[in-house]
């Protein structure tokens, strides 16, 4: 029987896994991992969170930010090593164009989505990653830590990205 504090740690990380795994999985897909790779990597990230908390040497003030940072680094390493993966962008583009498969999206909306999708593809990878993480609720500091850039760079990435998206949708 495990001591109560260990059981509590199991519960805590399992809860975090349940709450955040979908966000982390989707984020890894945007980095270019295939679905099986993204799923494996997501599980690995939460396992590492457990190991880090269990070890206790590293102070993790913000677990969600930590999880994204580790996922980002692992995702980049894996996507460079497995570079022939079909990117999510291409998959979505195909799906958006495939009218049969995207019937759940209204016809009027589709054109807007396609414009948005095109504008997103023109953003730099960092701009896209910033948008994605911000939409997942991460603060500028957490995004900056994840990407290894300054807070002002994050705000500049976001500003430029939104300016482009605005232009694509409204002009």
């Amino acid at each position: 029987m495990a001591p109560p504090e260990i059981t509590a740690l199991h519960d805590q990380v399992s809860r975090a896994f349940l709450d955040w795994r979908d966000d982390v999985y989707r984020y890894l897909l945007t980095l270019g991992l295939s679905p099986p790779e993204a799923q494996d990597a997501t599980q690995e990230v939460f396992f590492r969170l457990y190991v880090a908390l269990r070890k206790g040497g590293e102070e993790i003030r913000n677990q969600r930010g930590w999880v994204f940072r580790v996922a980002h680094n692992l995702g980049l390493t894996l996507s460079v090593q497995q570079s022939s993966t079909l990117p999510l962008d291409a998959h979505l583009e195909l799906t958006l164009k495939d009218h049969k498969r995207s019937t759940e999206i209204g016809l009027i909306e589709r054109e807007k989505l396609e414009r948005m999708h095109g504008a997103l593809r023109e953003l730099s990878p960092q701009q896209r990653q910033c948008l994605h993480m911000r939409a997942d609720g991460l603060r500028y500091q957490e995004i900056a830590d994840t990407l290894g850039v300054s807070i002002s760079t994050v705000s500049e990435f976001l500003r430029r990205a939104l300016a482009r998206l605005r232009k694509a949708v409204y002009e």
């Binding site: 495990a2 260990i6 740690l9 199991h10 399992s14 896994f17 795994r21 989707r26 980095l31 295939s34 679905p35 099986p36 993204a38 799923q39 494996d40 990597a41 599980q43 690995e44 396992f47 190991v51 269990r54 692992l74 980049l76 390493t77 894996l78 996507s79 460079v80 090593q81 570079s83 022939s84 079909l86 999510l88 291409a90 998959h91 979505l92 583009e93 195909l94 799906t95 958006l96 164009k97 495939d98 498969r101 807007k112 989505l113 948005m116 593809r121 023109e122 990878p125 603060r139 807070i151 705000s155 500049e156 976001l158 500003r159 939104l162 300016a163 998206l165 605005r166 949708v169 409204y170």
Partner: protein, 531 residues
């Protein structure tokens, strides 16, 4: 009210609650009073809203995880047991060492789940028309003309051969090893770049996973993966207009083979030549063009510490050369002329003309210290001055390569590299590996020059784990830092005006050389240059 309008960045931070409280209050007051800023704030909010709606709308289209999520509790328990079994005394970090090897874990997990996962993948991913498209391409495929040639590229070699060869054709020894891999995987070696061969391989797989095909304006891409057999994943690119195969990537268990169409007339193996960028995607084309610039600079040796700077501004690439001779300027201009969107500038700051200093006169610039110990060690084989100049020149050469690698790592971050086309990634690896190999040679030369003072005290390079890092980080943070540290130490010890180097100093040099070697080894393992 302040009359100055707020910048977009401030408006965005205001929306995101990223401004300090006093600023927030002041800006809110401004916005209440200023219609222009309020309108821009609303536009920004609308753009955020559109993005969020886009994310929600595409959510059902994003592929679901292919297998049920595993219960991590059993892994936690397993980990707890592993810790309990490890003696507490000794090296605490060792206990967690396996955690640093995600790939070995992934491989183990993949093996354990292989059958189950593959079946699930097959069920959950819609098989749009991979099979149909492949069948159609096979049906319209023309028999390969005798003039059609293909380029086959493995990790170690690149060669060009006829697209279709008769069974049992006599092969060179090196080609035989590649042929063996194809045979084991049941993939046609006789006609590898062919939709029919791809289809035949795909059809005989016991289990397979087709990624939905990508239908593009000029190309269609098919990808099939399997967890069994020698060939794990194959990607075939077809020309959209006639569905003829133009390139293919075959990922075998131990090797990746890239096959592409070669021009009919080209009969010898040649290094990949950069192609002009497609104009359709400005971002992709920027990275692509930047790569062409690096490649062109490399060809004229202008990427080895010369004052030539590459920067991007919007869609333009600006190459700035400082204090170059007229002939060098001309050379630089003509080497970059063919790359679109590149501006070449030259700067000649007054009084900074390069004073043709020969490498040999660096020590004469300082008041030479006596260096008595060095004199004894050299024992008349070489003058102290010559020795120091040789050492510093060799160290310069090491630094030039470390610098070139760092520049590449900054220009092509993992994310940028990942966005490059396969052909561009090949060019980037060839530039990178070329510099790393040259660095290795230069380091050997430096070590050999230093022999009189290092003797047998050169410590062996340590083996650092190569996993969980990118080559960019290794080049930027570790290799460059180690080379720079060595270079500065050599300058301080050998060319410093107050120094009279002693054995303890030489020992430190030996250690610094060892550190560069260690970092270089690690870099080469990350890039796959060594096992």
């Amino acid at each position: 009210m302040s009359k100055r309008h707020l910048e977009d960045e401030v408006l965005l931070k205001l929306l995101d609650g990223e401004l300090p409280q006093p600023d927030t209050s002041a800006h809110r007051l401004h916005i209440e009073a200023c219609w222009t800023c309020r309108t821009r704030l609303e536009e920004l909010e609308n753009a955020i809203g559109e993005y969020v709606r886009y994310r929600d709308a595409i959510r059902p289209l994003v592929p679901e995880p292919p297998a049920p999520w595993s219960d991590l509790r059993s892994r936690f328990t397993e980990h707890d047991r592993a810790i309990e079994k490890t003696p507490v005394a000794g090296t605490p970090n060792r206990r967690y060492k396996f955690v640093m090897r995600p790939l070995s874990w992934l491989a183990a997990a993949a093996a354990a789940l292989a059958v189950f996962v593959v079946v699930r993948r097959f069920e959950s991913v819609p098989t749009v028309s991979a099979a149909e498209l492949l069948h159609k391409a096979s049906a319209v495929e023309q028999p390969a003309s005798s003039r059609r040639r293909i380029q086959i590229k493995t990790r170690t070699r690149t060669f060009i051969r006829a697209a279709s060869i008769p069974a049992g054709a006599v092969l060179e020894k090196d080609d035989k090893a590649v042929e063996q891999m194809f045979r084991k995987a049941n993939f046609s070696w006789e006609d590898p770049l062919s939709a029919r061969s791809f289809e035949a391989w795909r059809n005989q797989l016991a289990e397979k996973y087709d990624t939905p095909p990508v239908i593009g304006d000029s190309e269609d891409i098919l990808q099939t993966s399997t967890s069994t057999g020698e060939l794990r994943r194959a990607t075939l690119t077809l020309r959209a207009k006639d569905l003829q195969p133009v390139s293919e990537t075959l990922e075998f268990a131990t090797e990746t083979v890239n096959i592409s169409e070669a021009p009919d007339t080209e009969i010898t193996a040649a290094p990949a030549t950069p192609r002009p960028a497609p104009a359709s995607d400005p971002l992709e084309s920027l990275s692509h063009r930047e790569l062409l610039v690096f490649s062109a600079l490399h060809q004229i040796g202008a990427d080895l510490g010369e004052p030539v700077d590459v920067a991007s501004d919007g869609g333009r690439l600006i190459v700035t050369g400082t204090s170059l001779t007229a002939a060098r300027k001309q050379q630089l201009q003509s080497s970059l002329a063919a790359i679109p969107g590149v501006e070449v500038h030259f700067e000649d700051p007054a009084g900074s003309q390069r004073a043709g200093s020969s490498p040999g006169d660096r020590i004469a610039q300082a008041t030479a210290p006596p260096q008595l110990r060095l004199q004894t060690l050299l024992a008349g084989r070489e003058s102290v001055e010559d020795f120091i100049n040789h050492v510093l020149d060799s160290s310069d050469a090491v630094m030039a390569r470390a610098h070139a690698l760092r520049t590449l790592s900054r220009a092509f971050s993992p994310a940028v590299e990942n966005g490059l086309a396969a052909a561009d990634r090949d060019i980037l690896s060839s530039l990178r590996n070329g510099h790393a190999a040259a660095l290795a040679t230069r380091l050997d030369e430096l070590r050999s020059t230093l022999k009189p003072i290092l003797g047998a005290q050169s410590p062996p390079a340590k083996i650092l784990p190569a996993i969980n890092d990118t080559w960019q980080t290794a080049a930027e943070q570790s290799l460059f830092a180690a080379a720079d540290d060595l270079d500065q130490m050599l300058n301080r010890i050998l060319a410093g005006s107050k120094s009279d180097a002693q054995d303890a100093d030489f020992m430190r040099v030996a250690e610094a050389v060892g550190r560069v070697q260690t970092q270089l080894d690690r870099f080469q393992r990350i890039t796959g240059m060594r096992p």
